[in-house]
């Protein structure tokens, strides 16, 4: 199975991005082969609906789970339909969270926020 994580940079060193939809990159990690791939998130600079586009991209990459600090409701709708499970990351470290996921220590992300669709939020 592959998992996706929103990350700040194309590296394992610079941490998990606090935003899902507007994260600059996604790490796609294969938990069997340990192979890492970084995707440019084209949604990061979109005018609106970044979460929708980012979720579409994650779903198109056939991942089984998304590890993220937060997620908006539109993106969560898409991920649910795509049968992608959402897990809440703990701390900034990418490697620690992959390890915690593999050991079954991450909890499911339950607090889906209502999104910031009104042009920057209020």
């Amino acid at each position: 199975m592959k998992i996706a994580i929103p990350v700040n940079d194309k590296s394992l060193e610079n941490g998990i991005c606090q935003s899902f939809g507007r994260a600059p990159y996604f790490l796609i990690h294969d938990i069997e082969s340990k192979e890492n791939t970084f995707l440019n998130n084209s949604a990061a600079t979109s005018r609106g609906g970044a979460g929708v586009k980012a979720a579409q991209m994650v779903a198109d990459n056939k991942v089984g789970a998304l590890l993220t600090p937060r997620c908006g409701d539109n993106a969560a709708d898409i991920l649910r339909i795509a049968n992608i499970k959402l897990y809440k990351t703990e701390g900034d470290s990418i490697e620690d969270n992959i390890k915690a996921f593999n050991e079954g220590k991450l909890s499911l992300l339950m607090d889906i926020h209502p999104g910031f669709h009104d042009h920057g939020g209020r």
Binding site: A43, S46, G48, V52, Q56, A59, N74, A82, H117
Partner: protein, 285 residues
């Protein structure tokens, strides 16, 4: 003659000035374009109100025709469409109703349906036509409601006062686009100058004739006045910081209807603006 009243923030006196100017002249229409929080009707208390819903178009998909090409998903600049598990999903709350997805669909699988986003209310307050727009809570854009309001202006109306939303965003641009003159209303503070500058830049960008009313004026320095002098902006009038005026307004009363003193004050302000508009019409026809 269409006169728009605007300011960079709320609470500077747009509605105070608008409703008072709307009742001192004959054959006047008041339009409340602040569709996110309309309050002009609280002062004017119009009678015989007719309500009309305002709808926008939202795409609907016929999955029996959709071949999953995702051309619509790629087209949508607002990412209101997603294609997951062989199913097209439409996010109504992000859709900007441009209709582009319907045009690009090669299979004609997309059509449009109406989505109600608010309403327009029309009534009369002692001879003044009152039009208010109301955007439903949670909707992203009130622009279709403003379009409808401005199109509903009665033909026989001699003068229209457009009470704009605060700020200088799209919704304000839409409100002033047909205005003959823009009145900027400002508070005598440094913060007031910042807000005045926002709308000043907007009316310059739109090439609209404009002037400033300085509201809540006290003795002593007035940064907004200094800003106008420095930038050579016409100061139309000054409204003093006045407890009596503030009290009437706080009780949802229209000062010009309550006392001759205020009727005279707002008639004079309106007179100066009308003179400016006519002057503009001669100088820049």
């Amino acid at each position: 003659m269409k006169i728009a009243v605007l300011s960079g923030k709320g609470g500077t006196g747009k509605t105070l000035l608008s409703v008072n100017m709307a009742v001192v002249g004959d054959n006047t229409t008041y339009i409340d374009c602040d569709v996110e929080e309309p309050n002009g009707h609280l002062f004017l208390k119009p009678k015989g109100v007719i309500k009309e819903k305002v709808a926008v178009k939202i795409p609907v998909v016929d999955m029996s025709l959709c071949n999953g090409c995702q051309k619509c998903v790629e087209f949508c600049k607002f990412n209101a469409l997603a294609y997951i598990n062989n199913k097209l999903i439409v996010f109504d709350n992000i859709c900007h109703s441009c209709g582009g997805c319907v045009l690009v669909c090669p299979e004609k699988a997309l059509t449009e349906k109406d989505k109600i986003i608010g309403e327009v209310q029309k009534g009369v307050s002692q001879g003044t036509n009152v039009l208010s727009g109301i955007l439903n809570i949670g909707e992203a854009s009130g622009i279709p409601i403003i379009d409808k309001l401005l199109a509903e202006e009665p033909k026989n109306s001699q003068r229209t006062i457009i009470d704009c939303p605060p700020g200088s965003a799209c919704i304000v641009m839409e409100s002033i686009k047909d205005a003959d003159y823009c009145v900027l209303i400002a508070e005598p503070t440094v913060f007031g100058v910042h807000n005045l500058n926002m709308v000043y830049e907007l009316v310059k960008l739109f090439n609209k004739p404009h002037g400033v009313i300085l509201n809540k004026c006290l003795e002593g320095e007035n940064p907004a006045e200094e800003f106008c002098i420095k930038n050579n902006i016409k100061i139309l009038d000054k409204i003093p910081f006045d407890n009596e005026l503030g009290t009437l307004n706080s009780n949802a009363l229209i000062a010009a209807r309550e006392s001759l003193k205020y009727k005279k004050m707002f008639s004079e302000i309106l007179g100066k603006i009308v003179e400016e508009v006519q002057h503009e019409a001669i100088v820049n026809p």
